[in-house]
Point group: C2
Chain length 242, copies 2
């Protein structure tokens, strides 16, 4: 057994805190006018205002008998009255010893997604902010939001993750708007349907929606085939033979 170098002191309970932070996204119109010009729906994050007036990601400590994901769900639901998280997944752990100056705090982070038709009205101490033009956030929370945003954009292209952002039934144009808001660039509705159909991610419901206020053909309504995350394009290259 190689004798180790200097073994650093192990952080014990007195000095090590574990917190769970969640980046909760919804495609919606922001509540705050941080992005003025348009009223198109955009990618929004749920923020809560801490006691000292700083905006933070919802989060807190881990329950003794909970997994971390259960803690994340509880902390978001309890503190902010948002219970309709359709998908929750782990992001990175942030562990810089000084990311929180007072006590050494390790943050295990999650990304949560809320369907765009969910009426997720947060209480006064919270709000939905467009991810472009966030207010200053506490500690390293801004970086965590960026991580989540990247993860979401990446997964939109090779999984069915959009099931958690879309209503139960929707016209393809609405889904296209969701993709557009999350990715930050326009998406061709036509091709989106083709791609998601080929992968059996979305299926036609046979029903049609109502036409818009200025005329137009009534849209067919589609639905996601599954409401569990599924990787739909596992091997971009180097696929297994046969």
């Amino acid at each position: 057994m190689p004798s180790a170098g200097s073994e650093p002191p192990i952080a014990d309970g007195a000095t090590l805190r574990v917190e769970v932070l969640s980046v909760v996204f919804q495609i919606r119109v922001p509540q705050t006018r941080n992005t003025p010009d348009t009223d198109d729906p955009s990618l929004c994050v749920l923020l809560s205002r801490s006691a000292d007036g700083v905006w933070t990601l919802p989060g807190g400590g881990v329950g003794a008998e909970e997994t971390l994901s259960a803690s994340a769900r509880r902390l978001v639901a309890d503190a902010l009255d948002v219970r309709e998280i359709a998908h929750l997944e782990q992001l990175s752990v942030f562990s810089d010893p000084h990311r929180v100056p007072t006590v050494r705090t390790i943050a295990s982070t999650y990304m949560g997604l809320v369907p765009s038709d969910a009426d997720a009205t947060p209480p006064d101490a919270a709000g939905w902010f467009a991810v472009d033009g966030l207010p200053p956030l506490a500690f390293d929370h801004a970086g965590i939001v960026e991580t989540a945003r990247h993860r979401l954009a990446a997964k939109l292209s090779y999984t069915n993750i959009a099931f958690a952002l879309a209503p139960a039934r929707f016209p393809m144009s609405a889904l296209s708007e969701i993709y557009c808001a999350a990715l930050g660039y326009p998406v061709d509705t036509t091709n989106l349907l083709r791609i998601l159909s080929r992968r059996a991610v979305v299926v036609a419901t046979g029903t049609v929606g109502k036409t818009g206020r200025n005329g137009g053909r009534p849209p067919a309504l589609y639905a996601f085939a599954e409401k569990e995350l599924r990787v739909t394009d596992e091997f971009a290259t180097l696929r297994p033979p046969m």
Copy 2:
């Protein structure tokens, strides 16, 4: 503010332990004869034998002034004399309250990669095992290895992660063997070169290697253009316009 349900007791220092576990991979011939038939190189994991004789992933507690990744490096290097980890990245956090029966232990896990030419000879209490046919592992460690294996296979197809498994210079046939061992199915050497060249992942060094023992043309030697992880195929679909 919605009054929460029953707030569970927050796990404090007395009841909550944080450990770091690493799945360290190397493409090599296993030390143990757990896969008998062939002596082709295969994907191997570094395991260490605990005091009570059970095989475990290398790991331990977090240092007070360390990030988790620094802890992971230290724990692998100190305990097992493997210092040549060319790439280290986070995997999931495993947080089931009873994953370790005695004390509530949250495991933050990492995947580490060691180049196939590194002479990483572990001490007696450790060994390299082929991932197919591992001995019984402690707690949930077997599942953690599976997670790592999947992650590695996935990243081989859309990143340059193989830089951390290959020697500094190598013939394409050797790289092909590495991919084959990590993926579990044959990879066409010809096409591998084309793909990795187009993406500027590998470049020819201009040098040639020695021919094998039974004749054959001497191979051109290649090298990875970068030795930092880079995503080379970010958008399989829904790419940004222009």
